[in-house]
């Protein structure tokens, strides 16, 4: 007899609980059930869990990297300060007193194919010289210790020209303690000839004991906004990821409704599944972070890299991630399930009666703007509290993300008619624009933030980008040396002229001349400069019409007072004294030279460095440059840009002539170092965020296509062309993106204008959003193109098979 034939239920214990459990245990039970379904739900359950976990994992890994940034910066700054010379006094030029441990040092830094190489020539004063951090032994003469990255470069074929410039024998490697980042190029070379007279500066210890350089309040505003702009899309991405695969899950929940689960229970079970995915995602994120950390040194993004030991997440942001991610997984799922009616026989999604409301979305961005208004203007000197600024930016950007679904719905509901692909796309969006809005919200926030940042950057540009006055069209390099003088001076200019790729050299030898006579202690001895060069050279630095070898000139500055001061020394037909500072100190009798009476007076001309030279100028036939005491040899060099590595040949010549020679690459605009590093950081962060957004959009797109696999097959069955469906997918992506980008531009311009007002600047360019919009649109096009092959695959008739 089967159970069906029994009149009564079989006797036995009644397992039904006497009363329903109270709220908390019931919800915990539902969450637990959801976790069990996710963990033991078979292939489908695991695919969903892994989709969520992969998305959350990527986001968490990025958040962990972001939360490691403060520690990384501290560590980098600490190492930088540790290797800086300990100052003897407030004057940076003050030398230490000679001792057994002191060292003579001269900066020998260089550039190689656009990369900076820091380096020093060093000579010990005694038997126990101090060594910089990360250097085990003091390099002997013609030896050097190098950073691993520099060693690698020198060992490679790419470093051939550099080896010529740094011909020292490598005897050791600088360890991590002596380097700011793993990709840093740095060396310390030993010298047997360096003296104070040849430019050596004496130091006694390493370690910067001065106060750290404070950040400008304007830069703090910039950093806060960048952090918010980069991290809000990541948070949105995580919120999107916990909803991956939601459609399939909802169909399974319908089966639970059939066996008696109520609506609230199904929502919490769904939340439990999302919670499991989020927790697995956090573990994946942690694993990705730890794995990525091991290879951190190998990643160089926009010239930024870090040692693995630098990447340590700060405790409170890491803790916040650990709590916020699972909690938001539960909350987002509960909120999402409110728009889904799970019935015992199926799922109704987004029943039409629930229209999106504006009233609760609008206060958020308005509150953000209010926070900015209350914070008021920020000036360059008053310390700034970053928290209100961060809160305001978060409110505006998150508010924008919340406004987007309403805006997309409001726009698509007005769309009518059009060809079949357009109709399919707009109708789909009218039925359910939530998934599309979610996918686009990341781009919207990123673009809005980027527009605001660009406006800020543009407004601050003048403060942090200095017009140098240099003219790189006349010369690309400026070199000066106080040590290649005498006969060597002429040779130096000659050698630069003979260097491969050098087009033109403005070579001069400069010294100071004084008016002879006795002067009281408080009286200023009239002094001016004496510049010696050939006629072509002198024409580059003074307004000289005619010139023959043997000619001399008195060159006046534009300022009348200064011109009078020049004339006090440069008296035509009278003598001037030639002596160096050292000679004067040592009581060496100065030599005298008479300025010819027929000397012409001319006006100065700005040289390529942007400097105006005045005083006495003499051709090589009038003054023998090799006899000038305390002279400086200056060469301003123009290279032929068509000659490959011409710049490297110039650097090599400079290093060969004088390793301590000052070489300046001329540029018309000089960026503030901190400002430049912030811009670099933004570029690095934006790259990571855009990759994340693209991944998010692709997953959402593929998921939507997978959900519609059977329908796509049916459409193909009755003869729908592939191109029709392709266009439909494109429109389906493009319409919300167009709305999103419009919102992003409006929001970004609003935020940018507010922030610009806060820093008391004016908006310099309202059209800065165009490249951002272009980047956003390109991202969408890329995602659509990448999703087309899966679309073609899903349009195969296999989708019609049910057995």
């Amino acid at each position: 007899m089967s159970l069906l034939h029994q009149k009564h239920a079989p006797a036995g214990e009644d397992h039904r609980p006497a009363a329903s459990p109270s709220w908390t245990p019931a919800r915990l039970r539902d969450l637990g059930l959801g976790i069990r379904f996710a963990a033991a739900g078979g292939r489908e359950g695991w695919i969903r869990t892994l989709l969520t976990a992969a998305g959350v994992g990527l986001g968490v890994a990025l958040l962990l990297v972001a939360s490691s940034v403060p520690h990384m910066l501290d560590q980098r700054d600490g190492r930088e300060r540790a290797r800086t010379e300990t100052r003897q006094s407030d004057s940076p030029d003050a030398s230490a007193a000679r001792s057994d441990s002191t060292v003579l040092r001269i900066d020998a830094g260089t550039e190689y194919r656009g990369r900076s190489i820091a380096g020093f020539l060093m000579r010990p004063d005694g038997a126990h010289p101090v060594t910089p951090p990360g250097v085990a032994g003091f390099p002997g003469p013609d030896e050097m210790v190098v950073s691993p990255a520099l060693k690698e470069l020198l060992d490679s074929s790419e470093g051939n020209l550099l080896r010529e410039r740094l011909p020292y024998r490598i005897t050791g490697t600088i360890t991590d303690a002596g380097l700011v980042s793993p990709n840093e190029l740095r060396f310390y070379a030993g010298s047997g000839t360096l003296t104070p007279a040849t430019g050596g500066h004496r130091l006694a210890a390493y370690g910067d004991n001065g106060p750290p350089e404070p950040l400008s309040p304007l830069l703090i505003v910039l950093i806060v906004i960048i952090s918010v702009v980069l991290l809000v899309p990541v948070a949105i991405f995580i919120a999107t990821a916990v909803r991956f695969g939601g459609d399939r899950r909802d169909h399974r929940l319908a089966a639970l409704r059939l066996v008696g689960a109520d609506i609230r229970t199904t929502r919490w079970i769904a939340a439990g599944e999302a919670l499991f995915g989020a927790v697995v995602g956090m573990l994946i994120g942690l694993a990705l972070f730890l794995l990525g950390r091991r290879f951190a040194g190998a990643f160089v993004v926009w010239d930024v890299s870090a040692f693995p030991s630098d990447l340590v997440p700060a405790a409170w942001p890491a803790g916040l991630v650990a709590v916020a991610v699972p909690v938001s997984a539960v909350l987002v799922t509960l909120a999402a399930m409110r728009s889904v009616v799970v019935e015992p026989l199926g799922v109704v999604r987004n029943n039409r009666s629930r229209r999106r409301r504006l009233w609760w979305r609008l206060p958020l961005p308005v509150a953000g703007l209010a926070v900015f208004a209350l914070t008021g203007k920020v000036d360059e000197t008053t310390p700034v509290d970053p928290y209100p600024i961060a809160a305001g930016a978060v409110l505006v950007l998150v508010g924008l993300a919340l406004l987007l679904p309403w805006l997309v719905e409001a726009c698509v509901n007005r769309l009518r008619g059009g060809p079949v692909p357009w109709q399919l796309a707009t109708r789909r969006l009218q039925l359910n624009s939530g998934a599309a809005s979610r996918a686009v919200s990341g781009v919207t926030v990123a673009v809005a933030g980027a527009v605001a940042l660009q406006m800020l950057f543009a407004a601050m540009n003048d403060d942090f980008n200095r017009i140098t006055g240099q003219d790189p069209t006349r010369a690309q390099f400026y070199t000066s040396s106080e040590h290649v003088t005498g006969d060597a001076a002429a040779r130096t200019i000659k050698e630069f002229r003979a260097t491969k790729g050098v087009d033109k050299v403005i070579g001069t030898v400069e010294a100071y001349v004084t008016r002879p006579g006795k002067y009281a202690k408080d009286e200023m001895q009239p002094t001016t400069s004496l510049t010696v060069g050939d006629c072509a050279t002198l024409r580059e630095i003074a307004r000289i019409d005619s010139c023959r070898d043997g000619d001399t000139f008195v060159v006046h500055p534009r300022d009348k007072k200064m011109a009078d001061w020049v004339d006090k020394t440069a008296r035509k037909g009278k003598e001037v004294e030639l002596s160096s500072y050292t000679d004067q100190q040592n009581g060496v009798k100065p030599t005298r030279w008479t300025l010819p009476a027929d000397t012409r007076t001319v006006l100065t001309r700005r040289d390529p460095l942007g400097k105006e030279n005045w005083g006495i100028m003499a051709t090589t036939g009038a003054v023998d440059a090799s006899t000038l005491p305390g002279a400086t040899t200056v060469a301003q060099i123009r290279i032929d840009k068509h000659v490959e590595d011409a710049a490297e040949y110039v650097w090599n010549t400079a290093a060969r002539l004088d390793p301590g020679m000052r070489v300046v690459t001329l540029t018309s605009v000089a960026r503030d170092r901190q400002y430049a590093s912030i811009q670099t950081g933004l570029q690095a962060g934006a790259t990571a965020t855009l990759i994340l957004i693209a991944a998010s959009m692709l997953v959402s797109q593929l998921e939507q296509l997978r959900e519609r696999k059977r329908l796509l097959s049916v459409l193909v069955a009755f003869g729908t062309r592939r191109v029709t469906l392709g266009w439909s997918v494109l429109w389906q992506t493009a319409v919300p993106v167009a709305v999103g980008l419009t919102a992003a531009v409006a929001g970004g311009l609003g935020l940018g204008a507010t922030l610009t007002w806060m820093i008391a600047k004016r908006v310099s360019d309202w059209w800065l959003f165009l490249p951002m919009v272009g980047a956003g649109a390109a991202l969408i096009l890329l995602v659509t193109l990448v999703s087309l092959p899966p679309l073609w695959r899903m349009m195969r008739p296999d989708g019609l098979r049910t057995e």
Binding site: V348, R352, G417, V420, Q423, L424, R427, R428, L429, Q430, L431, N432, R710, L711, V714, L715, V716, A717, F718, G719, T720, R721, T724, P797, L800, R801, T802, E803
Partner: protein
């Protein structure tokens, strides 16, 4: 060899999915205006036969001729065009496009063939009236019952004035009352418009609406009247 006057003929069809044979020498033919029930147990290959006949799936071997044209020699685009203009489809779950209204769903095949929206929707409404669902025009598929949805699907299949309708278990998801009404309307409308119907089903009662039965077993079709 094609039976005299037949519109669509298949001969010795073979089709496998991986190592699983779905059709193993199946043959079939249908005349204009004829309603043929393709019957057989689950997994016997009847849906595969329907997909092959409609040019959705290409058989591994065998020939299919429609109105004197060999389907296997047609390109994918030509077969798509054929399905758009000459064939209509009804599936078990209607498979209406959920975001379109019922009238837009019915008008869809016409619009895909290039008809203007208003003309297409006017024709669609005529067919919906015939199928007794003209009051559902503005509703979306999610807002109508299963039986109503199937009638909309039948109207969609007929709207483009096809020569053949392929119906794969069209009443499989309906209760008997609704199922019978859908079959009644489908076959009546088809006969009056001289449209042939290939009706795949595993229910014997459905066969009552057909002019002829074809049984598929283990991938072989036993076409009782037109065996070739």
């Amino acid at each position: 060899m094609t039976p005299a006057g037949s519109l669509l003929t298949a001969h010795d069809l073979h089709k496998s999915y991986g190592s699983t044979p779905a059709l193993d020498g199946a043959s079939f033919s249908i005349h204009p205006g004829e309603v043929v029930a393709v019957m057989g147990p689950s997994g016997s290959g009847k849906s595969t036969l329907l997909h092959c006949l409609a040019g959705i799936v290409t058989p591994d071997r065998g020939t299919i001729t429609y109105a004197g044209r060999e389907l296997s020699t047609m390109s994918d685009a030509e077969r798509s065009a054929l399905r758009r203009t000459e064939f209509g489809f009804v599936f078990q779950f209607g498979q209406l496009v959920p975001e379109l209204t019922c009238v837009e769903n019915v008008a869809l095949p016409l619009r895909l063939s290039g008809a203007r929206r208003k003309d297409a929707e006017r024709t669609a409404l005529t067919w919906m009236e015939r199928l007794e669902v003209d009051d559902l025009g503005a509703k979306r598929p999610a807002e109508v019952s299963g039986g109503q949805g199937q009638r909309v699907a039948v109207a969609r299949a007929l709207a483009s004035s096809p020569k053949v309708i392929f119906a794969d278990e069209p009443t499989g998801a309906l209760d008997s009352l609704n199922g019978e009404r859908v079959l009644e309307l489908l076959t009546e409308a088809a006969r009056s418009a001289n449209v042939a119907v290939v009706l795949v089903t595993h229910e014997a009662r459905v066969a009552a609406y057909s002019d002829r039965d074809v049984t598929v077993r283990d991938g072989r079709a036993r076409d009782l009247e037109h065996a070739v």
